[in-house]
């Protein structure tokens, strides 16, 4: 859409009194052959929240980075408060009153809230003044926080509050929020948007809200721009649109699959088809659990109980979703089932046999496949080839007298590359040359090729785009149909609702509640996540 149509919207009553805070004029940015932004025109109005919606790679973050001075545009102009500005680094942006709350927190756990807020300041330090300022901001926007609290002990929601205070302290007139709700519970998200609304209406600041979730866009934003492949493909008022329209705009076609809808946050529980589930829940009843975790206790090196008497069972063919706010034991649970952590007490049984926890490779040998939360951390070796990564967990299968048969490995890798549609320069391409989604496919291929009895999928679709999410979800379903017991650990509620037969909620290393599939809905789950009793 062009400036003219934005101006038309600007003529709307609500906007009549507001002035443009930022105007992007034909911003174009190429990275080599890749178009990140193509002739983007967009206006951020004072006193309004402008939603920027799009898939991963649509260009929304690049646009925001241009505004904050992290990326220089190839062509185009930026007008701030009506004057053309050259923003060549974040300092320029700060001088113009532009602040950004990043997707990933840049806080230091070992420091207190006020220490974190003051980080990056120069000159002499006045702790009292800073703490007072934190108090003022808290009162003003409903962002109350204890300035003496250690950041490491805060929940994700409070940590984000610290980030926002860091940003607001400099009194920016233009605020950018990049995927702010990625790690928040539904309640925390709502609180965030309430305080955001405060900032906007009472002080007439301009806010750009970047997200790929439709629901929050619809509820939080005043107007919405949809980006696809670097272009603004649609522009509308939040009050005049609905989720399906937005979803079509993002993907560029009708959104059909439930997993796609889940990815975009438009899924509704009642839309779920029930035929397959009935069949599966019937079969699950008759079989005994293949994975059984009993009273598992895992302690961190500093004595903190990461898992606290956790009980969990998964039956063959069943998908059990593990929901919960991050940091409540999801990662230790995944690590335990990857042989990376040892139990202090309790036990893990696979197929009726107790598995020695923490012994290298024991879980893998017992038939537990893992798609780890962070593939670079415990999924792949970037400096090895694709083929080597595919045989890592079981190299003996491809060796005669412990000498690896390269032909066999090459053939196997080729087969996996074709079967899982891995985009790479052949079996012996280095792993680091693959994109994130394709690295994830390598992990998936390797784990499924082992014919696991149990598959642990930890945040399997994090950071993937819609097509990749769709693929991952269908693969998980397929595995469940082949009677693999699947433990789906995810912070995306929609993903869990979409795939799981049964949902458990983790809190402080324990199972805080369990919901059968039929009873589950977002509100119910959200309450559980927020710590409410069942």
């Amino acid at each position: 859409m062009t400036n003219r149509s934005v101006d038309l919207i600007g003529a709307d009553d609500a906007q009549a009194s507001s002035a443009p805070a930022v105007e992007f004029r034909e911003i174009t940015k190429h990275f080599g052959a890749v178009t990140a932004c193509e002739e983007v025109n967009m206006t951020l109005w004072r006193g309004q929240i402008h939603g920027v919606l799009g898939e991963n790679g649509a260009g929304k973050s690049t646009l925001m980075k241009i505004l904050i001075g992290l990326v220089m545009p190839d062509r185009g102009k930026i007008l701030v408060h009506g004057e053309e500005q050259q923003i060549s680094d974040p300092l320029d942006a700060a001088a113009l009153g532009i602040g950004m709350v990043h997707q990933h927190f840049s806080l230091i756990d070992a420091l207190t809230v006020w220490e974190n807020v003051t980080l990056g300041d120069s000159g002499s330090l006045n702790p009292e003044a800073i703490r007072n300022r934190i108090g003022d901001i808290g009162d003003q926007y409903g962002l109350v926080i204890d300035p003496y609290a250690l950041v490491g002990e805060l929940t994700a929601g409070l940590r984000q509050r610290v980030e926002i205070i860091k940003c607001l302290r400099r009194d920016p007139q233009i605020l950018i929020f990049d995927e702010p709700t990625a790690v928040l519970t539904p309640e925390e998200s709502e609180q965030l948007f309430n305080s955001l609304r405060n900032v906007v209406t009472s002080e007439r600041r301009a806010v750009a809200l970047v997200s790929h979730k439709l629901d929050e866009m619809l509820s939080a934003a005043d107007e919405i721009s949809i980006m696809r492949q670097g272009r603004i493909v649609d522009h509308c008022l939040a009050s005049e649109t609905d989720a399906p329209t937005l979803a079509r705009g993002i993907v560029g076609r009708e959104v059909l699959l439930r997993s796609e809808q889940a990815a975009l946050g438009v899924a509704r529980t009642e839309q779920r088809s029930l035929g397959r589930d009935d069949r599966r829940s019937a079969s699950a009843l008759t079989e005994t659990s293949v994975l059984r975790i009993e009273r598992a206790v895992v302690r961190s090196p500093d004595g903190f109980r990461l898992l606290d008497e956790l009980d969990l069972e998964v039956k063959p063919g069943e998908i059990v979703g593990v929901a919960g706010v991050e940091g409540n034991g999801q990662r230790p649970l995944g690590d335990l089932l990857s042989s990376l952590l040892a139990l202090e007490s309790g036990r893990v049984e696979v197929d009726g046999k107790t598995i020695s926890s923490g012994r290298p490779g024991a879980m893998a040998v017992a038939g537990v496949g893992v798609i780890p939360e962070d593939r670079h951390d415990s999924g792949v070796v970037l400096d090895m080839t694709v083929a080597e990564n595919l045989i890592l967990t079981n190299p003996d299968r491809f060796a005669k007298r412990s000498v690896i048969d390269l032909k066999m490995v090459g053939a196997f890798a080729q087969q996996m590359i074709e079967e899982f549609d891995i985009q790479c320069d052949g079996p012996f391409a280095p792993m680091w040359s693959l994109s994130g989604g394709n690295q994830q496919r390598v992990v998936l291929a390797r784990e499924l090729a082992q014919k696991p009895k149990v598959l642990v999928a930890a945040q399997p679709t994090r950071g993937l785009d819609v097509a990749a999410i769709e693929y991952m979800s269908s693969r998980l379903r397929l595995a469940a149909e082949e009677n693999v017991a699947i433990l789906l650990i995810s912070s995306e509620l929609e993903e869990i609702l979409d795939l799981s037969d049964r949902i458990v909620v983790l809190q402080k290393g324990q199972v805080a509640g369990e919901i059968a599939r039929g009873e589950a809905d977002l509100e119910h789950l959200g309450l559980l996540l927020g710590g409410s009793a069942l």
């Binding site: 080599g32 042989s339 670079h376 792949v380 690896i404 680091w432 994130g436």
Partner: protein, 383 residues
Amino acid sequence: MTGDNTAVLGIEDPPVVTIRTRGRIRSSEWFALYTVSIAGALFLAGLLVEATGGEWRPVLWAMLDGSVRRPGRWGETLGTAGPVLLVALGAVVSGKAGLVNIGQEGQLLFGAAVATYFGFLIGGPGPLNVFLILVFGALGGAAWAGIAAGLRYWRGVPEVLSTLLLATVSSQVVAYGMRWEWLLLAPQSSRGNRNQVSSQLAKNNRLPRPEIFGNEFPITVHLSILLAIALAFVLGRTVWGLRLCTLGNNQRVAKRSGVSEKTYGAGALMISGAFAGLAGGAMFAGGGFSFGNYQFMTGFSDNIGWTGLLVALVARERALLAIPVALVFASLRTGSSFVGSTGVEGRITDVIQGLLVLALLIPPAVMYLRDLRRARAAATARV
């Protein structure tokens, strides 16, 4: 590393940018970079020689004389390259496992001491005795590295520190052994007025030194080349090698796929020490004027351990590449002994050696930094 970088930035699924596509123009870039940086190092070395009152031409000639041209000298160079290569191979093994063993000098010295002790203690017919000396050398080196391994895996002491400090301890322990005739010291009758030497190895208990075109060197040179080839195969083509490299690259992936950090890590450190100790045994049984002439003494290791470590560093943990690099460094060493005749301090070759190491490490560093920069640029592109 580039992948890590994109991970840090939280960027996934780049559209088309790959670092790989630039691979084709690379070999010429590599060549140019190496040429420039080596030329730079040699130029600086020349300047240095001139600055200290010498002339670069006679110094260069002396070095060539000492390492290759004079009769018998290239044999001497090869004989030096043998143990240097062995040490380097050991450093390759520990490096692949992600461990930094920098105590080869001590492991070599201790290995040689153990080889000397048992060599004289057991005696026996010639070939068997030579074989035992080599075996005990390797065992001694492995044991010395084993201390560092134990500290690392039971007490959490970083092996970088322990291996280095143990090198100092090693020379003290050996000096102690040199004080007693029942340990290493030769009986009064055979050492004359000299202190701190062991007995000389009997003629039939020495490694064969075949003579080729007036040059002779011990057959450990052949052995070390065979071992380099074998090691390249083991690391590249066996399950053990794959698992060792997995451990070196990503400990968590390794643990998940059944590689025990203790077993593989401690094993790699001890194998690394064994190579250094083997080099020590080979130096003792292989003789050569610069290696004590079949006698063990304090300071026997004579910097071969450090040189071997540098070779592995420059060869960037590639066993086969270590062969030519070991030759270059051995030439510098043998060449340096002739530099003194030009009136220039012979130790200037140590400086030259340092400059060369830097020169050989600069191109990988440059390429790495460039990759990193490009990856960053690409990463910011990937929204």
